[in-house]
């Protein structure tokens, strides 16, 4: 099944002459982990808000085309209804947590959906556990670290039992360890729970290992889309598109420039280590002593 299908979608903010989004076609499959890469102003946020109907229902503008969420036409449903299919996580950890305890934060969605109390209670425990915040039910979100805040925001979306998570630069304010924890939780959600995950990012580095597919955006348009190996091996093209390439891709392309042998195509440290130790002979002498 397709989790998200855009057809001939165009959206323009009031008073603007340029389309903020202009996407003839974009399809995301159920269970896919997709990273949407693009520089600031490429339309990533607008695209993310489209997924649960906030654009154009709440943020109004000129809209045309069709958006389907798990094969339901989005315009026919309210944001609340779509929220049971699509969980949203925004950039700023601070302003999307508004309750006085972690538990209330996670319970808020199901409470609004009039879910019975016992079931809410189960979902709260389940969601807090999934994001690694088990036992912190009574902690004030204010006292959590940045990474914990973003994970709590994920739990608050998960408790509405969505089949897809859309995250708009969730690592924006996080330190490196916070980013790694966040992305590995998302990766687990996909692997163990079949969650469809769409992450908007500016930097490919942290997501190389987790993503099934990268979608490149620029000026409201999707400029390319494909698996990491196709999308990330050309650092020059990525730079031209305004995003920073993974360092390993840079290493590979620099090596390829200097060698006549078949090109190396690694993206992660593990792959690089394996390929370089196989392909590089001249250093092996050095290893013997």
């Amino acid at each position: 099944m397709q989790a998200l299908t855009l057809k001939d979608v165009r959206f323009r903010y009031p008073g603007m002459s340029e389309w903020a989004l202009d996407i003839p076609s974009l399809e995301i499959q159920q269970g896919e982990f997709v990273t949407v890469l693009g520089p600031n102003g490429a339309g990533k946020t607008t695209l993310s808000l489209l997924a649960n109907g906030l654009v154009p229902k709440s943020i109004k503008g000129e809209f045309e085309g069709s958006v389907e969420v798990f094969e339901h036409p989005a315009p026919k449903y309210t944001v609340s209804q779509l929220s049971t299919l699509v969980g949203m996580v925004f950039q700023e950890p601070e302003s999307q947590l508004f309750c006085m305890s972690a538990e209330e934060e996670v319970a808020f969605g199901p409470e609004n959906l009039a879910v019975p109390r016992d079931e809410i209670s189960r979902r709260v425990e389940w969601a807090l556990d999934l994001v690694g915040l088990k036992g912190l039910n009574d902690r004030s979100p204010f006292t959590l670290s940045g990474g914990q805040k973003q994970r709590l925001a994920i739990a608050a979306a998960l408790s509405m039992k969505p089949s897809m998570l859309v995250l708009d630069e969730p690592a924006y304010a996080l330190d490196p360890m916070g980013r790694i924890e966040l992305y590995s939780i998302l990766s687990d959600l996909k692997a163990k729970h079949g969650m469809t995950v769409i992450v908007m990012e500016r930097d490919a580095e942290d997501l190389v290992e987790y993503s099934d597919r990268f979608v490149l955006m620029a000026n409201g348009r999707v400029t390319a889309s494909g698996p990491p190996r196709e999308m990330l091996v050309d650092p020059g093209a990525l730079r031209a598109a305004g995003v920073s390439p993974p360092q390993m891709a840079e290493v590979a392309s620099l090596i390829n420039l200097r060698r006549k042998a078949p090109p190396l195509r690694f993206l992660t440290v593990d792959e690089a280590f394996a390929e370089i130790t196989i392909n590089t002979h001249h250093h092996s002498k050095g290893a013997s002593h």
Binding site: P39, N40, A173, D175, P176, M177, D203, I255, F273, H283
Partner: protein, 283 residues
């Protein structure tokens, strides 16, 4: 290395001697930090959240005052100077530009600092114009700062600090939220400022940024300086970086793994690594 207090201080712009700081809540954020910063350095202060790096930085311009030990700025006890006086010497750019911007035009915004330190009209204008030129903001000098993109807002906030022509510029996570192009542009400008003699203190947890730009790295952990070395040295101890909740760039991780085939561990950039790897091929 413990700097000798009596050492020649001609080039010494900042000297922290066993500086301690305890917040009112009782949290000991600095547990005795000794640090000398010389004129013209490009220093990165790195550490995870809660390591004390921001607390340390706020001592450099007097926003925080040590509860023990001393802070000397240009050889003068910082405790005898107000923040406004120190701001002429040590510029501090906050992470979030929106905590600073409030004026109607970029030019007004950049003039705010120089006017605050009591300069006369023509001098305020001269400095504002220069800062605007340095930060490549001339085309948008009459635009309202709040209407600009984040990349430009950050540049305006830096311009508004360098307009006071400080000798030391402290930058707290200057690339947060910027895309590759915006970050590259900004770091190039900062590199130029450093080349022209401004001492740069970069507060960050982005090790890629550190590898590419800094000459010297101070690693903070738990309110203490656990490493103070040139940049190359800082990247040769991965264990220490990990303990400090820092993530070495992939290329450094790879270099360390490849050290078994003779690659050196202090690799900072992809170019360096590839140069080492392919040296033999060219012969």
């Amino acid at each position: 290395m413990i700097p000798r207090p009596d050492a020649d201080s001609e080039d010494r712009v900042i000297f922290l001697r066993d500086a301690k700081f305890t917040y009112e809540s009782g949290v000991e954020a600095l547990k005795g930090v000794t640090l000398v910063i010389d004129k013209g350095e490009y220093l990165a202060v790195v550490g995870g959240n809660g390591s004390g790096k921001t607390t340390l930085a706020k001592h450099l311009n007097g926003l925080l005052r040590p509860t023990g030990g001393q802070v000397l700025v240009m050889g003068v006890q910082a405790s005898t100077r107000t923040v406004a006086e120190l701001a002429r010497v040590v510029g501090y750019v906050f992470q979030n530009p929106d905590h600073q911007l409030f004026c109607r035009t970029v030019h007004d915004e950049v003039s705010f600092g120089p006017a605050n330190i009591g300069l006369d009209g023509p001098e305020v204008k001269r400095r504002a114009d220069r800062a605007i030129a340095v930060m490549n903001l001339s085309d948008i000098r009459d635009r309202p700062p709040l209407s600009l993109t984040l990349g430009l807002r950050r540049r305006v906030s830096i311009a508004s600090v360098i307009a006071m022509e400080p000798q030391v510029l402290v930058l707290d996570e200057p690339t947060t939220g910027l895309d590759a192009r915006e970050a590259d542009e900004l770091m190039a400008i900062i590199r130029r400022l450093n080349d022209e003699g401004t001492t740069i203190v970069l507060i960050t947890h982005e090790m890629k940024l550190v590898a590419e730009h800094a000459n010297r790295v101070v690693v903070m952990m738990d309110g203490k300086v656990v490493l103070d070395s040139d940049t190359r040295g800082a990247f040769s101890d991965l264990g220490l970086l990990r303990r400090s909740k820092l993530l070495p760039p992939p290329v450094t991780q790879l270099a360390h793994r490849l050290s078994q085939i003779g690659v050196s561990k202090d690799i900072l950039t992809p170019q360096e690594l590839v140069f080492e790897l392919t040296r033999g091929d060219d012969q």
